[in-house]
């Protein structure tokens, strides 16, 4: 089953590749592999459509199949978001071999006015977020509000056009259910790695 899965991903055509670090498309924009019906508490029940730096009209369900490390952010964030993104990168670089290609990262922007596909693409570049495992999304204000509500992220735009927001890192399991959340700006690496190991099929 696992072999089949990786085979499918491995044979993914490198169409639409960018002059980035890899040829592959971000998780949001690979070929959709439909599974059975999603569970009652899966975020993938959401029908909202999202825009990435690569593609538009994306349903979150396309991310199904791998654990996702999720954070909300905005590209013009001066304080917390760079730290959050750094934390996620730190997690990525500490993934053991067995997890390396099994975990994805998802950043969703609050800033529906200023963060468009182009801005997200620039952010991907300046932050050195590889295509293979990082999805950057923006969407309609209502949809962002709804996703934030589901994750339990509170946010508000302040007088300078910055967003005050709670800092929350969410781990979604392969089915899109919230498995664990971490508040604050530090990820307890050991905890997360242990959790991720339970979500990824054991190598044979």
């Amino acid at each position: 089953m696992l072999a089949l899965f990786s085979l499918t991903l491995g044979s993914e055509p490198a169409a639409g590749s960018e002059p980035g670090d890899t040829n592959s498309l971000p998780p949001c924009c690979r070929k959709f592999l439909p599974g059975g019906p999603v569970t009652d508490t899966s975020l993938y029940l959401l029908e909202s459509r999202w825009i990435s730096d690569v593609q538009t009209n994306i349903r979150l369900e396309v991310l199904r199949g791998r654990p996702q490390i999720v954070a909300m952010f905005f590209t013009q964030c001066e304080y917390a978001c760079p730290i959050l993104v750094n934390e996620l990168r730190r997690l990525e670089s500490s993934l053991p071999v067995a997890l390396k290609d099994q975990v994805d990262f998802l950043l969703v922007s609050f800033d529906t006015e200023r963060d468009d596909a182009l801005t997200l693409a620039k952010f991907r570049q300046t932050q050195h977020l590889g295509n293979t495992h990082w999805t950057l999304l923006t969407g309609q204000p209502d949809d962002v509000r709804e996703l934030a509500a589901l994750l339990g992220v509170n946010y508000q735009k302040d007088g300078r056009g910055q967003f005050s927001h709670s800092n929350l890192i969410t781990v979604l399991n392969r089915e899109g259910e919230v498995a664990r959340q971490f508040g604050g700006l530090r990820i307890p690496l050991d905890d997360v790695l242990k959790l991720l190991e339970t979500m990824v099929p054991a190598p044979r």
Binding site: N154, Q156, N167
Partner: protein
């Protein structure tokens, strides 16, 4: 000509409603659906502010329902949208307490007042879906607070002793086991009932408040709610009910359902009727 036709249709409709009403339930039992009333533009002064927050938020003219959504109103919705019936709703969108006060999927209860009581035990998602079904939306927190700041006699309730006493009395009392019916409260200056005194209400951006319950300390703003010097960042230190609402909203999650939490709808003011500059 149009007018004659319209009034005749109206007359026929009224007769039909009367016939139906006498045949089934008395109109008293079901009550009237909420009506949209116009709330004029104004300035909402948020209770809590961060260093960079605007002290004032402009609220444009909008429409707000004059009463919370009742069990009867909500029954019509779940009839039309089966995915929102108690037995069908997805757990992601409503916790297990969803509509728990109802007898079953399509029966809110048999007490004489049941249909006219405000619907409670509904999640934010359910409230949003209801509003969309009606072609309306939930009010923003700023809109809700702006409308709720009006007194009985004028747009500024804080000037009215009687108004202040009446609402402080409610916020200081536990919810009654049997809820009063909608519109049982005295209407405010704009003709809106029950903004205070009946149930708490969802707002579209209830999760914009950073007075967080679970991640305290991750933002600077929520400090203003807690501790003795807590109200220093607050606009109006006397406005205890507004403190309570801010704290309440920030403790909610979108799938929560509570026995004293309902909602009402709002709508944009129709733009073609707006005066040209």
């Amino acid at each position: 000509m149009h007018f004659v036709l319209f009034s005749r249709m109206n007359w026929i409709t009224s007769l039909l409603i009367w016939v139906l009403a006498t045949a089934q339930a008395s109109p008293d039992q079901a009550g009237n659906p909420p009506l949209l009333v116009t709330i004029p533009a104004g300035i909402y002064r948020p209770l809590f502010r961060g260093r960079d927050d605007l002290p004032e938020v402009e609220v444009g003219r909008f429409l707000l329902e004059d009463a919370p959504v009742s069990n009867d109103d909500f029954l019509k919705f779940v009839r039309a949208r089966p995915q929102w019936r108690r037995s069908a709703v997805r757990r992601l969108f409503a916790d297990s307490g969803y509509l728990r006060h109802w007898i079953d999927d399509l029966n809110p209860g048999n007490e004489p007042d049941t249909l006219r009581q405000p619907v409670v035990n509904v999640s934010w998602f359910a409230a949003k879906a209801y509003a969309a079904w009606r072609g309306r939306r939930l009010p923003t927190t700023a809109e809700w607070e702006w409308a709720a700041s009006a007194g009985f006699l004028g747009p500024k309730g804080t000037n009215e002793v009687e108004f202040k006493q009446s609402i402080a009395g409610w916020y200081g009392t536990p919810s009654p086991t049997v809820l009063p019916v909608v519109r049982s409260g005295r209407p405010n200056f704009y003709g809106v009932h029950d903004l205070h005194g009946l149930v708490w209400e969802w707002t579209a951006d209830f999760n914009s408040s950073l007075v967080t319950g679970d991640a305290r300390g991750d933002t600077g703003i929520e400090r203003q709610l807690f501790c003795g010097a807590g109200s220093q960042g607050a606009q109006d230190r006397d406005n205890f009910p507004a403190f309570m609402r801010a704290g309440f909203r920030s403790s909610l999650k979108a799938s929560y359902t509570l026995h004293n939490l309902g909602f009402r709808c709002a709508a944009d003011f129709p733009s073609k009727a707006a005066p040209s500059p």
